[in-house]
């Protein structure tokens, strides 16, 4: 039964990723190829990044005779990523799934339903932890001799590792579910809690380089601290590095026991939390004078209220807006050295002294390309699509309202971020202009692109909005396309045009190309998308 439930969840996840629709078997070869390409891209980029990181750690720890710390670091980092990656997902997967009540009405034990949900989280965490455990293992194999026993112990530890963050995510998800069942403004509380986690994660990420440098410089002291505060990772490291099966067994207990305890605890409260009334509190209506708005503004306001009511939508859709402002603010407080430290992590340690302004602009553009507010907005109409399709509104108005929502949220963030960079860094007037213009044009480009991609790859038969916001094809394609659009001219400049034109000229040319693309996309949405919109959800 557990297998059946899990396969249903996995199928739903795969359908969501491949954009398969009801009754249609395949999401198309093009879509599959694109997703495989994106997967390879992620593996190469993240694998390479973390591989270099482990490469830098292996020898210093070996010289300190603290080889265990090398594995323990993989464990700590993998656990952190798993936790942050799955904690936002836990509540929607376990407690808010729309099919909970349907499944509970069937002769299926609640513990089995819970088991299938937790297994899905565990699988997700295997993917996250692999980003660290695989590069860690590969680097170890490259740099030193390996034994069969060591490989077995490492693989076993890597397989056990995600149990711990899954248990932690479930515990936090459970607490959030309990808290929001007792408060009025559920969405706000979820957002605040999520932002606290996200903020903590971002602080750790941006300081990762200095942490690693400090770790290498003070390996002995930090190793002792890890041994004292995080004994599970000490056990993992010692087990693999020293071939100590006793420590590996201890690490197994550290992983299995919390998972089992969490499963037992959640089994007791699963039915109560999953079936509690989800709606907002009742508010007694007091008649007030109503205000009329234009059709386009009424549609845009509806989109904004939807965005504001969903913490998952805000967190995932507006991540880039928060990050762009946070990066610029860090640059103001910590100076240009901060940009160099970012380059050390994400640009292979390139010296950016001569290219401070272009680097800041590229960084801002990369973060703004992470804003995917408009990308799931058509799918999120879901079962309400009939309202717009039966109403006397032009498809162009509906689609542009989604673009406007994206712009209303992201343009202020882009302006603030640009302003902070302009204040923090020395720039010529032309560079200042580009620092504002390029992010703004890119924001418009992302807003338009998201709607067009979603119009092409919509998804309406989901059981939870989070699935569309986090995993749908339109969101993935839009975000990676955005990054690609920033990356291509950057690479073109670095490898071909660096000696031919100045960075600011290249940026102006890029802004012009983006602006032309925006005009073409705007024209499509306002004049030629009527048929595509009418054809939505016709099956």
């Amino acid at each position: 039964m557990l297998k059946t439930l899990l396969s249903v969840r996995l199928k739903a996840l795969a359908d969501s990723m491949l954009n398969r629709r009801r009754g249609k078997k395949s999401g198309g070869k093009g879509m599959k190829a694109l997703l495989i390409f994106l997967l390879i891209y992620c593996v190469v980029v993240f694998g390479g990044m973390f591989g270099f990181m482990f490469y830098g750690m292996y020898e210093p720890f070996g010289m300190l005779e603290m080889q265990w710390l090398y594995y323990a670091m993989a464990g700590v980092m993998g656990t952190m990523l798993c936790f942050v990656g799955s904690v936002f997902f836990t509540q929607s997967v376990i407690f808010d799934a729309k099919d909970n009540e349907l499944l509970l009405s069937m002769p299926i034990p609640a513990s089995v339903i819970l088991g299938s949900r937790m297994s899905l989280l565990l699988l997700l965490n295997y993917a996250y932890s692999a980003l660290f455990t695989i590069p860690c293992g590969v680097v170890r194999c490259i740099l030193g001799p390996v034994t069969a026993g060591g490989v077995v112990q490492y693989v076993l530890s890597a397989l056990l590792l995600p149990l711990l963050p899954t248990a932690l995510s479930c515990a936090v998800g459970w607490l959030i579910a309990l808290i929001i069942s007792r408060v009025r403004n559920k969405s706000f509380v979820t957002l605040v809690v999520s932002l606290v986690f996200l903020g903590a994660y971002m602080v750790v990420c941006f300081n990762m380089q200095s942490y690693i440098e400090r770790l290498i410089a003070n390996g002995a002291a930090i190793g002792a601290a890890i041994r004292r505060v995080l004994p599970m990772f000490y056990a993992m490291g010692l087990g693999v590095a020293g071939g100590d099966w006793g420590q590996t067994a201890l690490f197994a207990l550290w992983c299995v026991v919390p998972f089992a305890v969490m499963y037992a605890l959640l089994s007791r409260s699963f039915v109560r939390i999953a079936t509690m009334k989800r709606g907002s509190a009742k508010v007694k209506y007091v008649a007030r004078s109503l205000r009329a708005s234009s059709v386009r503004w009424a549609l845009t306001r509806k989109e904004l209220i939807h965005l504001g009511s969903s913490s998952a939508y805000m967190l995932n859709g507006c991540m880039g807006a928060v990050m762009s402002v946070a990066l610029a603010a860090l640059c103001v407080f910590r100076g240009r050295g901060f940009l160099q430290s970012v380059a050390n992590i994400y640009a292979g340690g390139a010296d950016i002294t001569m290219y401070i302004m272009p680097f800041a602009c590229v960084l801002e553009c990369f973060t703004l390309a992470m804003n995917i507010i408009s990308a799931p907005s058509i799918s999120l109409e879901g079962k309400n699509l009939w309202t717009l399709q039966s109403a006397p509104v032009k498809a162009g108005d509906v689609l542009i309202s989604k673009v406007l929502m994206h712009l209303i949220v992201c343009v202020p963030a882009a302006l603030i971020s640009s302003l902070l960079f302009v204040l923090a860094l020395p720039m010529s007037p032309a560079e200042k202009l580009m620092m504002f213009l390029l992010p703004l044009v890119l924001t418009l480009f992302m807003a338009l692109l998201g709607v067009i991609v979603n119009l092409r790859w919509p998804r309406f038969d989901y059981t939870n909005e989070t699935a569309v916001i986090k995993q749908s094809a339109s969101v993935t394609i839009t975000m990676f396309s955005g990054w690609g659009v920033v990356l291509v001219p950057l690479l073109l400049y670095i490898f071909l045009l660096r000696k031919v034109i100045a960075p600011v000229t290249m940026m102006a040319a890029f802004a012009a190309v983006l602006a032309i693309a925006c005009v073409v996309m705007y024209d499509y949405l306002t004049h030629r998308a009527e048929k595509a919109f009418a054809n939505l959800n016709q099956d």
């Binding site: 009742k282 209506y285 205000r291 059709v295 503004w297 209220i305 039966s390 006397p392 509104v393």
Partner: protein, 240 residues
Amino acid sequence: MLRIEHLSKQYGGREKKAVDDLSLHIRPGEIYGFIGHNGAGKTTTLKACSGILNFDEGNILVDGISIRENPLECKRRMAYIPDNPDLYEFLSGIQYLNFVGDIYKVPVGEREQRIAEYSAALELTEDLGSKINSYSHGMKQKLAVIAALIHAPRLLMMDEPFVGLDPKASHTFKQIMRSFCDNGGAIFFSTHVLEVAEKLCDKVAIIRGGKLVTAGDMEAVRGDESLEDVFLELVEEDHA
């Protein structure tokens, strides 16, 4: 008011037509019931008439205007209530009604007056400040009814409109429907509750397997029998 001419619709990948050469004429002042078994093609017909669903053949005219050629003008004259009132759950009741008022460009005074009138009649006034996600199925249905009436349409199309309504709200809604048609409007609605159709409708159409079996004045269709007997006989005849 609503003229359906040789309407045919086939869903992709299916051999059988969901609606096959259906023709009906709903005149002003008429309450027209549309009955049929599950999967007969009622919802497909209603969705095609409301401009939600594309159709393959035939034409649909609202006040003489083709929905193919001028869908926005047709949609301005009508309102549709689906079988399941899926509304924007993140909006409050009043926000939803104001949104619909904006979409249909209803002057503020008129929308306030209609909201007050219909929400009082359906006893929903006190709940208009609450988010729709806190509403019961019946309350959502009432809100969908108010939203449909807010722009004073001339044609009302509804798919199982009485599902979820409590007896009192159901009674009030029937009075609203009668008054709507007495004032020159027309109603085309599907229902499985044949007693309601029998008492409320001026005309009735029975559909089976996408094809029209019979249509006409209630008395003519029913004869001396109950509508339920007629419906069962026609469906069995068709089976045979």
